[in-house]
């Protein structure tokens, strides 16, 4: 609303906002850098002073939304952990946040999950994977998950939640309501948790998996 300045001042953030809105409206590829620039009220070449390419803008946005997902999972888990008798509720709440997000904002979720989408430089914190990791530690502490089954369990749990989220975001699997998605998340997570302890023999070793974001830290 203020008078139009030659210098925008917050162009980088404004471009990210515009791009996020465009992703929501037209998907990850259904818009142009010119469109985003115009929406912010700036020439298209101005964007190149803040992002090396259109792809760099998309990658930066991808990191931003993924970090937001991590925060949502964190607060959902914290809120559920307080009064509950069942220790698993924290993990289930984090999973629900993950899946709900994919269902309610599918285009943005596809962006965050998409290949090569993340900026190798950016540190995504808290990363969804780390949230699950922490919740699983609490389950072992409480005796709900066996210590033998703990190593690598995060990846099994992540796999389950991520599978449901992507199937829903990509429209390959259809549920009638958000509540149905919550129930499906619970069923899947409870099955995985129960099966992890049951199917892991003592001293059995499973392959070493890595998350791409921790890989980069090394």
């Amino acid at each position: 609303m203020g008078k139009t300045h030659y210098h925008h001042g917050e162009l980088r953030g404004a471009l990210l906002d515009a791009a996020e809105e465009l992703v929501r409206e037209h998907g990850v590829v259904g818009w142009s850098l010119r469109e985003a620039s115009a929406r912010v009220g700036v020439s298209s070449s101005a964007a190149y002073h803040h992002f090396a390419s259109r792809d760099a803008l998309v990658r930066a946005l991808s990191g931003r939304v993924l970090a937001r997902l991590g925060e949502r999972m964190n607060s959902a888990a914290a809120q559920a952990a307080e009064p509950s008798a069942d220790v698993r509720q924290g993990l289930v709440a984090a999973g629900r946040a993950y899946v709900r997000w994919a269902l309610e904002d599918p285009a943005v979720a596809r962006l965050a999950f998409g290949s090569g989408a993340h900026d190798p430089e950016a540190t995504i914190s808290p990363h969804p994977h780390d949230v699950l990791d922490a919740e699983l530690d609490r389950l072992v502490e409480a005796g709900t998950l066996s210590a033998e089954a703990r190593p690598g369990a995060e990846f099994v749990v992540w796999t389950a939640i991520h599978g449901l989220a992507t199937l829903l975001a990509d429209g390959l699997m259809i549920l009638d309501s958000p509540e149905a998605a919550d129930l499906q998340t619970e069923r899947t997570l409870r099955a995985v948790l129960a099966g992890l302890t049951r199917e892991t023999a003592p001293s059995q070793s499973w392959p070493a998996a890595h998350s791409a974001h921790t890989e980069r830290r090394a």
Copy 2:
């Protein structure tokens, strides 16, 4: 090799082949219709006599590769079912095929899983979802999976396999070798199967899920 004909004769299939190769080389979006046409030795506008748009070509290709995945799962399951004592080996083999495919041909896998990628007209047969469905029926028959846990179990299993496949294809999760992927698939599937029976109380009802490809048939 042969003399260049004005009429290509097999242009539709040749374009699909070229597009698949380009996806493998440059991802789903890193190539142009002109490039695919040139590779086949044809003008770019010729493609529009076989596909309404570039997107239609991509959708048709997506259906083709997804059906191929279904066939690979089917034959893997059939081969594993014969001599084995453990009935679960059929399902595990199908899952391995799914995950291996995503790991070995990630760009093509992303195409097949990608949103809106499938032609609503095309019937994908056998659909990966249906292969899992059939294998789960065999598990109930053999008494490995409880009948109470059977309804909707396909979606829990699909979720698990699909999650692992997409995490690997998108590079979010890293495993050191194809063998590690096989082991991870086994661990995940065994956990889910064990947990499904264990966590399903009699007469418990879970949400009704649908697969997009069966939805279309209705």
